[in-house]
């Protein structure tokens, strides 16, 4: 019993500690992001890392999601002759939920891991100390561009995933399952509201912030050589994914 209470206590302390550190980091990010100088090249480079280079992964994820959703929901709806609603289900599920969440998880695995590993290596090889010793704020130089790239690129990738997902659903329904294309498109357009898309994009912004902050924080606090960098990377991906899933519930409850 005491062991259980101890365990719970330690867990709570760890969460509070974590939230505290992320909040402090966010505060520093916001403060330093607003001060000169702004080195545009750093931002563009990170947008490429987070955004452009994630396109193939996000495309495959989106396509697969849309296609599977169409197959599964067709199977279900067929039992009560509502096949024409497949388009609606695919569009709503993808834009409200699966587009942003799966994009978030994929980017956490790709770009988040890369951020934690790169900053972790910079930490253990004293490159972060070198930055600071030359009078350059490491948070401004390293974290701000990644944070900006995260909150800008995640929504862009999500729109992309949404489109490809809907396209995947269309292909499966119309080409393989013989749903009438006109009906499919009409059902999609009739029931999909712009607020469904906006909600999903807002989620994506939050996920972008989560991924970049956690990954940078883990990298910054990495210690103990190659092993430490490995641990920081794993922990960045796991923590980002967990927080994406947890915050997704609350965002959904709050938004819709």
């Amino acid at each position: 019993m005491t062991a259980l209470i101890e365990w719970v206590g330690r867990l709570v302390l760890k969460i509070v500690d974590e939230v505290g550190r992320l909040t402090l980091l966010l505060a520093t990010v916001v403060r330093t992001a607003l001060t000169r100088p702004w080195d545009l090249r750093l931002y563009v480079k990170q947008m490429e890392e987070v955004g452009t280079k994630s396109i193939p992964v996000v495309a495959i994820t989106g396509l697969s999601t849309g296609m599977v959703l169409a197959l599964q929901s067709f199977n279900g709806f067929q039992r009560f002759q509502a096949e024409s609603l497949v388009g609606t289900v695919v569009a709503l599920s993808v834009t409200r939920e699966l587009g942003p969440v799966l994009t978030g998880l994929m980017v956490a695995g790709r770009a988040g891991a890369a951020m934690a590993a790169e900053l972790g290596t910079m930490r253990v090889t004293e490159q972060i100390d070198a930055l600071a010793s030359m009078g350059v704020n490491p948070v401004k130089y390293l974290v701000v561009p990644r944070f900006i790239a995260g909150i800008l690129m995640l929504p862009v990738l999500t729109i992309f995933a949404d489109l490809i997902g809907i396209l995947g659903g269309y292909i499966v329904s119309v080409q393989l399952l013989d749903v009438n294309p006109t009906v499919y498109i009409k059902r999609t357009v009739d029931f999909l509201h712009i607020s469904d898309v906006y909600g999903g994009l807002l989620k994506a912004v939050v996920f972008g912030a989560i991924i970049s902050l956690i990954s940078c924080e883990r990298g910054f606090t990495a210690g103990g050589g190659a092993e430490g960098v490995g641990q920081a990377t794993t922990s960045a991906v796991v923590a980002s994914c967990m927080l994406i899933l947890i915050s997704d519930y609350f965002l959904t409850a709050f938004l819709y």
């Binding site: 910079m122 090889t125 100390d129 070198a130 600071a132 010793s133 030359m134 009078g135 350059v136 704020n137």
Partner: protein, 248 residues
Amino acid sequence: MIELQDLHKSFHGRAVLAGVDLTIETGETMVVIGGSGTGKSVLLKHVVGLLRPDRGRVMVDDLDVTTLEESPLNELRKKFGVLFQGAALFDSLSVWENVGFSLTQHTRLSPHEVREIAREKLALVGLQGVEDRMPAELSGGMKKRVGLARAIARDPEIMLYDEPTTGLDPIMSDVINELIVRLKEQLKVTSIAITHDMTSAYKIADRIAMLYQGAIQAVGTPDEIRASPNPIVHQFITGSAEGPIAVA
């Protein structure tokens, strides 16, 4: 003048610095010697404000580094040049971008001008034609020299060297030692170097201080240190396993 006053620092309950007092006069080279893990790097990081002490002060030209706000601290840091143990070159930048980094960040010089200055500084440390290489393509000795060129890029008043010769062969060590001595003579810099390489210490030091168990055990000129009656100092400089220093 740099003054460390009663510096204390603990990590996870383990005291690394336990009351360090040390004064470095303007223009002198102070070499801090001590075994691995005795807190030499920690000491050096306090001087440039990378670590904050639990207690004590670090005065650099009458400014207390330990309580400075971020922006005056960054101003003060422009006087410093730091050579890190593994050179700490930025992997993603080429050699000349590394050397010119602080110029790019803090001045309005054009890339062309920065490159020119980087080339000059690289020539000073005996490197030519490596401007466009990436750090990963350099040998250990070359990295150290590029790190040195980066540290002197803005003509610092104070140089900090973290194990400048560690991991280098004896000849390359001597090249680095020569460079450090030459920098002192040409640029009149105040320097703190930490090392456990006694050959290097004797060569570059005006005075040597021995750090052991979180405090300075002895300070003196190389000759005084050589003749020191202090058994801890004697054991360390002669490199003996026998003596008061516990060998873990």
